[in-house]
């Protein structure tokens, strides 16, 4: 008995020390990635991360296979057919970035009924039998104001740059930002424009609203718009406010230039495309028999003053800062949800 306990303990240590260990008894299991879209840099990075991390996992014998499938068109009906094909192909788990939160529920239910573990991430599904690795966009917005409250204890006026109107993510992040402004009443949001998560749109929008604004001390953003905002503000004689960045390469590069030139300070926050690898490890843990709560939350990838250089060096030109998750990270996320 004690020997068994000791073995278990040492195995646990081995697991924690070596994220990619061949110890797991999931070595015969096959995991598939069902992806609905591959048409932008974020999704490309997501697929590359998947290939890299799962490739190592397969080589180390953690799982037997981890194949990625992307539908040719970003359509729910097509992805539903893809999932049903995966059931036929005999996968043990399906990791899913869904085209629609609800339209795949029928296919997901079929998979669950066939005994397949379904883990959805980023684009999650509402079917209760599936696991969800969701992004807490609200917290992402709130944390920006919290950061500013530490940098600027006196508060002041903020400019908010929103994303694409009518999209769920935009509503959530904005709600979080306004919640933050309520929590730290020294800040007042004096203007709000839609930057559509694109630098050029953000630049135009910010340039348009600037003349009507009082002094601003900070710009809260949603990612993909910080560089455009900086360009628009630099074209005026205003003092550069603290612009929260969104992990895009051009944003980080600008931040680095400003940091070197005049000690500019800010932070950057977004979701790493490598979240697909977190979903992979979570699926592996579930297959391994671990008890995992159905709803998990993805940690953000936050870049601060001191780790800016390393993150910038790791980010491709025109890309997004990324992080690949390990089995250890997945276990941490699973445990924090309990």
């Amino acid at each position: 008995m004690t020997i068994r306990k000791m073995l278990l303990a040492s195995a646990a240590i081995a697991c924690a020390a070596m994220p990619v260990s061949a110890f797991a008894d999931t070595s015969t299991k096959k995991i598939a990635l069902s992806n609905n879209y591959a048409g932008n840099s974020w999704r490309q990075a997501m697929l590359t991360s998947w290939e890299k991390v799962t490739g190592e996992g397969v080589k180390a014998g953690v799982v037997a296979a981890a194949d990625a499938f992307t539908t040719a068109e970003n359509q729910a009906t097509e992805q539903a057919a893809q999932i049903q094909n995966m059931i036929l192909q005999g996968y043990d788990a399906i990791v899913l970035n869904a085209a629609s939160p609800t339209a795949l529920n029928g296919a997901v239910k079929e998979a669950c009924d066939a005994g397949i573990t379904v883990v959805s991430f980023d684009g999650i599904v509402t079917e209760p039998c599936a696991w969800r690795i969701a992004v807490d966009f609200k917290e992402m917005g709130r944390s920006q104001v919290e950061y500013l409250s530490k940098k600027l204890p006196d508060g002041g006026n903020l400019l908010e740059i929103r994303g694409l109107a009518g999209v769920f993510v935009d509503d959530e992040i904005s709600a979080g930002i306004h919640e933050g402004a309520k929590q730290f009443p020294q800040f007042k949001i004096v203007g709000s424009v839609h930057g559509d998560w694109a630098q050029d749109v953000a630049q135009k929008a910010v340039a348009g609203i600037l003349p009507s604004l009082p002094d601003i001390v900070g710009v809260v953003t949603q990612g993909g718009d910080g560089y455009g905002a900086a360009q628009a503000i630099a074209a005026t004689d205003r003092k550069m406010p603290i612009i929260v960045m969104g992990n895009r390469e051009d944003e980080l590069k600008w931040w680095k230039e400003q940091k070197d030139a005049k000690g500019y300070e800010t932070m950057s926050v977004s979701i790493a495309p490598g979240v697909s690898t977190l979903a992979f490890w979570v699926a592996q843990q579930i297959l391994d028999g671990k008890e995992v709560k159905k709803d998990l939350v993805v940690p953000f990838l936050r870049i601060d003053q001191d780790n800016l250089e390393t993150n910038l060096a790791n980010t491709q030109a025109g890309g997004v800062a990324n992080v690949e998750y390990t089995q250890e990270d997945a276990i941490k996320v699973i445990e924090s949800a309990k």
Partner: protein, 315 residues
Amino acid sequence: MTFRLSSDAMRLAIPALSLTLLLAAVFWLQPRAMSYVGLNLLFNLAVPIALATIAQMIVMAVNDLDLSMGTFVSFIACVTATFLRDTPVTGVLILVGAIATYAGLGVVIHLRNLPSIVVTLGMSFVWGGLAVLLLPAPGGQSPDWVRWLMTVKPPLAPMAIVASIIIAAVAHLVVMRSSLGVLIRGIGGNPRSVERAGWSIVAARGAAYGLAGFFAVLAGIALVGLTTSADANIALRYTLLSIAGVILGGGEFIGGRVSPIGAVIGALTLTLAGSFLSFLRISADWQIGAQGAILIIVLAFRLMLNRLEKQEKGR
């Protein structure tokens, strides 16, 4: 040659042959599919496509084309997941209204001599807009009886196969055997002679569109039964899939030459082609192209047979 296939049978032979070939290939690649559950998984999403294809086929029988099929089915899906579940009476009224609108479109297209492509393209924005109004965010839930119907496990053959056979049989009876069906195909073939024979073309065209609307409504309901909930963009692909299904199944754009059984087979073939390519592990970038290639091969084959047929007739 003493024995000759009728041209109708010939028309059916090619789609049936391509479906058999594809099915054999899929079974070879994935033996697991050769079972009750496997067949259902392969084909259950083809049921709404088959219904939409029949709807498109009826519109094509009167020499028109319906470009709003995808958004219309999406709209019906949204109605099914909201009104039809919560307030069935209102839901049914909306569905009846939608069918009536379709019939009205047929009448307007005929009376004003409008190109159907333009009218239905315009309507596609109307249906799309209504769908977004109903369900701004994806959601809703399928009525229990619809869900039951689409997941029922009949003896002998899985639901998807039984449903396909029923759809094909009913559509065949309506379009090929009933007087209304003959009339509809007559309009596609030679409207003037139909008119001279004393029939009202306006009424027949309206009826054709109404019938198409009815099948499209069934497609939307069936789709929600499979997905359990709806999304305003759920069926956008159906516009092109339904046209491709009709053509693949031996129908033609003009002349009222259509084949309901062929259309159902065409829809099944298209669905199966997707699974076949995914079992082959063809990358997503090539899949659309490969799907197109399958279409072209089948069409080329048909053209070749048509030519042979003509040559023999000329002799």
